[in-house]
Amino acid sequence: MTETDTNLIEGLRQQSPKAQQQMLDRYGRDVFAQVIRLVSVTENAEEVYQDVFIKVFKHINRYDAEKSSLKTWVSRIAYNEAISFLRKKSAPMVYFEDYGDRAEALSDTEVDETFGHANQETVQLIRAALKYLPPEERAVITMFYYEEMSLKDIAYVTESLPSTVASKLSRTRKKLCRIIKMLQS
């Protein structure tokens, strides 16, 4: 942890408005992006965003620097708040579900070819397919491919194990591939 992070955490523990403003400036955009990825509606995302940082400021004493970085700790709170919001207030959505054998039936080569070869048409298909994923899976795949977080950090954010995250990633890749095939057909 850097010296600035230490000073920031110390300021947050003293409920310093300056430190809180610094925290918002540093991590606000990432948190909002993470929240709106899950919640979608801007007004709801704003509500969740405010709840996230109120919680961060309130429970800063619970932060353990040995377990994670400050950013990961804030991401974990944001992820949990967004998922809680979806469970409480969002209308139930029906997402694409794989039925075991059919998803597994796709070969690794086929999946690698779909995602590997640069093709603008496939990119658009993947974008369309991403909309069929449940929010949790979409969050995990975005954390891995876009934010380039480690399995350990993703596991910390989603409160699971790294191996579980790894298998979830593998399954989501195949699921996306299956959705693309479905969209193509």
Partner: protein
């Protein structure tokens, strides 16, 4: 699937990475005032500070108002003097009126009236100035014998002297606010002294009137004598 393999996938899945990047780029941006709103929510501006500001703005006006009030109290003349002045003016006017109506005044007050009797009914005596027809008749009856028996009635200098003394006594007496019956409610009832004073003034006026009549009679007699 171990982490190394996943890292390789991260580099390999170009299409997936591009798709996610494009999706993220198209997501709505964070509102610019969201952090400000959050800070306002987290640290609401304390009301006492605002009130303090208002007090700071108000206190010069309050001080100015207090100073103005003190100045008004110090510089204004006392209420008593104002009241006395007004009352003095009223008294003077009433005295003038009384002097003007002195020849007619005896019409109302009879010299035979005892001072004890009217004290019981002060409200009836509150309007002594109001002219009525009955006293005029009475006085006319009284005047008639005086005129008829002018020679019989010998007017000595004594009554005039007495009247002069009375006028002197009344002149020396200062009329106060208490002497004016209308000004204060406690003066609705006449005191015996006031009734006596009024009677004395009435007698005095009556005697003056008699003197005047006698002089007129003498003058007319002299004129008729000269004619004869």
């Amino acid at each position: 699937m171990n982490e190394d393999k996943l890292k390789a996938l991260l580099q390999q899945d170009m299409n997936l990475r591009d798709a996610i990047r494009q999706e993220e780029a198209e997501r709505p941006q964070m509102p610019a005032d969201l952090n400000a709103r959050l800070m306002q929510k987290t640290h609401p501006q304390p009301l006492p500070a605002k009130e303090g500001g208002k007090v700071r703005r108000l206190w010069p006006w309050l001080v100015a108002a207090c100073v103005a009030g003190v100045l008004v109290v110090l510089l204004m003349p006392p209420r008593e003097t104002i009241g006395e002045k007004d009352i003095v003016a009223k008294v003077e006017k009433k005295e003038e009126k009384k002097q003007e109506s002195k020849p007619e005044a005896p019409l109302k007050v009879e010299p035979k009236v005892t001072p004890a009797a009217p004290a019981k009914r002060p409200q009836q005596q509150r309007k002594p100035v109001a002219p009525t027809t009955a006293p005029k008749q009475l006085i006319a009856q009284e005047i008639a014998p005086i005129e008829a028996g002018n020679k019989q009635v010998t007017v000595s200098d004594e009554p005039t002297a007495k009247s002069h003394e009375l006028t002197a006594s009344t002149k020396t007496k200062m009329l106060t606010e208490r002497d004016i019956p209308i000004t204060r409610p406690e003066n609705y009832k006449y005191t015996p002294e006031e009734i006596a004073l009024m009677k004395r003034q009435a007698n005095e006026a009556y005697l003056k009137w008699v003197e005047l009549e006698l002089e007129i009679a003498k003058h007319s007699q002299e004129q008729t004598a000269q004619k004869d």
